[in-house]
Amino acid sequence: MESIIACKTCGLLQRTEALQPGAVAECFRCGSVIDKHRVDSLGRTAALSLAALIFFVPANIYPILRMEFYGAYSESTIWDGCVKLYQDGQWHVATIVFLASILVPLLKLLGLFFLVVVTKFKSTFWRQERIWIYKIIDVIGPWAMLDVFLLAILVALVKLGQLATVLPGRGLVAFTAMVVLTILASASFDPALIWRKTEKRP
């Protein structure tokens, strides 16, 4: 099946054909990759984002860090961290942590999963709304900074280890799994498929 694709780098329109596994299509003019063969991108994205969503629950209800500092013991979930920051008067930091680590990742995963599943079943309902959902995910996506948060936690684990006893909580396993699965889901997601499969066949 031949199709016409515009290069995202230089804008040249060109024809490509359906690609075999392992093949990539490069731009005729600038050489950027314009199309890749993806094995069942929709199914893969659906599976990965569902797995990430499942891990979202334990990652948020269980403590990420357990800390013992001269006998004082404390466990904190991400939400605890937000509340503590807010109580300390750092409400802007609290807001950013809440958005970047809880709300946006959740919305992104939910949106991704919804779009992929609906497209997979070739549903023609809600076409207009799906476009909106896609746009929202596209806009808020960069604000999901789970990986940054994970890095911050790991730095705390290593650095604070000299001052206090810092142990990973059971939530950290789920959180790490969620971060990895979210990244994989985003990587396997091919937005073009949504348009290709939802457009009305004349």
């Binding site: 199914g43 599976a47 797995a51 629950v57 059971r170």
Partner: protein
Amino acid sequence: MTDSPKKSGPVDKLPRAKVTQRRWRFPVMWVVPVVAALVAGYLVYDQVREFGPTIAIRFKDGSGLKAGRTPIQYNGVRIGEVKVVKLSDDLHDVLVEARLLRSAASIAREGSVFWIVRLGTELQDIANLGTVITGAYIQVLPGTGDPKSDFVGMEGSQAALEPGGLEIVLHTNHLGSLKPNSPVYYRGIEVGAVLACRLSANATVAEIYVRIKPRYVALVRSGSKFWNASGANVKAGLFSGVEINVESLKSLVSGGVAFATPNDPKAGLVKNGAVFRLYEEAVKEWLEWAPRIPIPPEENSYQHARQKK
């Protein structure tokens, strides 16, 4: 892709393989969410498995208790955690809701005694110095009755005594330095403690409520004599020099009661609520009394351990 149809040759004579659409392929990718569900389910199950029953404890004073932070301990081991601290409906008491670990679920039974261990201002509270760093915690002494979930917490650490001991009342004209938690000595060994001190109903004497540990209950007989062992007894004579009598350093600080029991074997055991007089000091004769009274062996004691060998 297929070669162009212009080429023809022997290849064309080969039979064409049959191409069919496979109805179902194993969706390898969907193993990921299944594994995720199993792992997440295990994490949740593992946590839920630790949860024991929730209990409610009523205290007069809730200072130092923090929801989600204050542990419940037994023998120095964490067996639960305070979940909610709130005032009772009539605003008189503090209601504490706590969740026990499943392994300690059997603590929630009739007869269990809960009290808050925190650092007070009394010098004798030095034993709780650790709570400066760790914060207050709730200590429990398990009972043996039927399961139950509502408890009334004890005030102060007098509850550290095992339940079921003997409670007696001492009358005295002058309380001195006695106060709740002051020790009760028999031959210098701590066998009980003062529970409370108050003025009698007609204000003629001070009443001291004393609890003797269950193990030593047999020591108190109807003829027993109690005296105030508070402070130091200093005798200075021109020829004898200075003689200082102190029951113990603890009694010097917090006051104390000592008692002796006469050699009379007929003197009967006393009941809860028995009233004795508290003398200002001991008569010399009392100190020489040495009745033979069998007392049950102490659990886990040094001697006990040696006897087993």
